[in-house]
């Protein structure tokens, strides 16, 4: 009796497993002419990418294209793709993620030039090609670091100095897994430099800021969820994520600090993506005027100059001196050096100094604040 019942259970389990294994194959067969594009993106990219996909499917090039989406913390997504997760089109938080994918052999080293070769966008402002706002090749969307506060701004948060006051509870993602977290902390540091502070004073500022942090969710979008669910009273976030959360009806508002950082989110076709005509067409669409208008409508700053001009009224402008800082302001090598300087897992001090690390500043400060705060 027991034997039979376990036999029956066993066959049912096998049947279900078999169906699960076979179903994608069967479904694939049903629409033989469709092609699939695997998209992997940082958590906050989800909104924009999904809208782009829906619009793209309405064009002749995208009529028979289906998408497989994965969105999550940028470093996590990068590691997954480097370890073999299928990806044709990647949209990540910051360019070191693409450097990692180049190292893993998943993305060609000249990925940034796909903007010109595939997208027809010329960053060098010549010829009849589309032109970009900030001249950084391979970037799909721009954004800025903003402060998200409760409706009415009860703590009257205006600038970076307000964030380190006692009683301020900050939510910012965990820099070990999130790209958004890294943009936020770099913005905080660079703003201090722009305010004529020394590098040591800027590190001291970061220390104070981190000791006011009450939650470090694993990704940018989970940080937004935690903030909306009531955690903390200031959230450091992407401007586009703040706009999306407000549009979704949450009782929050955002403040653009007097000094903030230009966020540049790169996108690229992987080697498999370059061989997939549907992925190539989608890339082209994302960088086209139509694609950029969709992104701008959702709060991402468009990279195309023509679209940025049309949509300028819906974005805070950064005409004041030092109002928009760039990674290259702290280090002329940009992210390559900044990543090591701030987020290296190994902390190294210059000779005769044990307070201000040369590498792994944030790693060290997290430990310091965690053990002494």
């Amino acid at each position: 009796m027991r034997f039979f019942s376990s036999l029956i259970r066993g066959s049912i389990a096998l049947g279900i497993a078999g169906a699960l294994v076979l179903s994608p194959a069967l479904l694939g067969e049903a629409g033989a002419t469709t092609s699939t594009v695997n998209v992997v993106g940082y958590s906050v990219a989800g909104l924009g990418i999904r809208a782009l996909e829906a619009a793209f499917q309405g064009t002749p090039a995208g009529a028979n294209v289906t998408f497989n989406n994965t969105f999550g913390a940028s470093d996590t997504m990068t590691t997954n793709v480097a370890n073999g997760q299928a990806a044709d089109f990647v949209n990540l938080s910051y360019s070191p993620n693409l450097t990692t994918l180049v190292g893993a052999g998943k993305v060609p080293a000249n990925w940034a030039s796909q903007e010109l070769t595939v997208g027809g966008v010329n960053v060098n402002l010549t010829g009849n090609k589309q032109q970009t706002v900030y001249n950084t090749p391979g970037i799909l969307t721009d954004s800025a670091v903003v402060f998200v506060v409760r409706q009415g701004n009860p703590l009257k948060i205006k600038n970076w100095a307000d964030l380190v006051k006692p009683g301020v509870q900050i939510v910012t993602p965990n820099p070990t897994s999130s790209g958004s977290a890294r943009w936020n902390l770099l913005a905080a540091y660079t703003a201090q430099i722009a305010l004529k502070k020394t590098s040591h004073q800027a590190i001291d500022y970061l220390k104070k800021l981190l000791s006011n942090v009450v939650a470090q969710p694993t990704s940018g979008s989970l940080s937004m969820s935690a903030f909306v669910a009531g955690t903390g009273n200031v959230l450091l976030a992407y401007e586009d994520d703040a706009k999306a959360a407000i549009a979704a009806g949450n009782n929050i508002q955002f403040i653009t600090p007097p000094q903030t950082m230009l966020i540049e989110n790169p996108a690229a076709l992987t080697t498999t993506g370059l061989a997939n005509p549907a992925a190539v067409a989608f890339y082209k669409y994302a960088f086209s005027k139509a694609g950029q208008v969709i992104l701008a409508g959702l709060g991402y700053r468009p990279v195309l100059k023509s679209i940025a001009t049309i949509t300028a009224s819906s974005f805070t402008n950064f005409t004041k001196k030092n109002s928009l800082l760039r990674v290259t302001d702290i280090n002329k090598n940009g992210w390559t050096s900044a990543n090591l300087q701030f987020f290296s897992p190994t902390v190294t001090f210059p000779a005769g100094n044990t307070t201000y690390p040369r590498f792994g500043i944030v790693t060290y400060l997290e430990q310091f604040v965690g053990s002494n705060g």
Binding site: D75, T176, V214
Partner: protein, 286 residues
Amino acid sequence: MAVTANYQESTKSRLLLPKERQSRFVISPVKGVARGAAVTFLSLVVLIPFAALITNAFNGGVSGFWNAVTAKESLHAIGLTFFCAALGSALNSAAGLATAWVLVRDRFWGQGLLNALIDLPFALPTVVAGVTLYTLYGPLSPIHLSLTGTWIGITLAIMFVTLPFTVRAVQPVLETMTFTAQAAAATLGASPIRIFRTITLPALAPALLAGTGLAFARSIGEYGSVVFISNNLPYKTELASSYIFSLTSSSQNTAASAASLALLVVAMALLGLFSVLSYHFSRGNR
């Protein structure tokens, strides 16, 4: 699981000893195939990944392993994980015993429904459990009980996901238990507490330990249900699973494997201890 198996085997092998002994010498082809399949399956699913984990953990040599495990953030995360897991599964063993007792020994309206509800935490994706607990015990708690970012909140989440283990382990034993010895003790004037302590509890102990062991093992690896409610603050409320996740995210695979291995070794040592205790109790019963 190992604990239950041991217990059952120890009673079973007494009954089946002659046949078992026979089969040790004459392996029928069917049994040979079955054994081969079992070993292959176990290798693919458990042994090979485990071996890979060990290899990865020692990629940086013994000192690399040691440094990764004893890094302050790692020690803190592992310590907090064990504390909350131990507390959660201990509380659950008491609560689970009481629940199983009520389900088996009592008859009341809605009992069937309650019995079915016990398995709900298993059926629910842990992330959903995490979000639910966050809304219920978060800063905007409708019952004004904010437990986010505290060890109490983490323990609560652990108790939620591991509740079925003890209940489901103890329930069958309680169902088959004849209460004649207890009745005899009562006629001899033993107090209910004494009867429970000296007769009922020792008989339930192996199952109870098995359930608690499973709950404990499950809680140290718990991620989805605790990652929100913990607030994930490094050196403060970050748990081992989340710490390991962060390490793999930033390509620190050796450190991640080392921390996982440390977690696993301590967990296995504790499960071994439970197994020994369970064996001790089941022998004592005979």
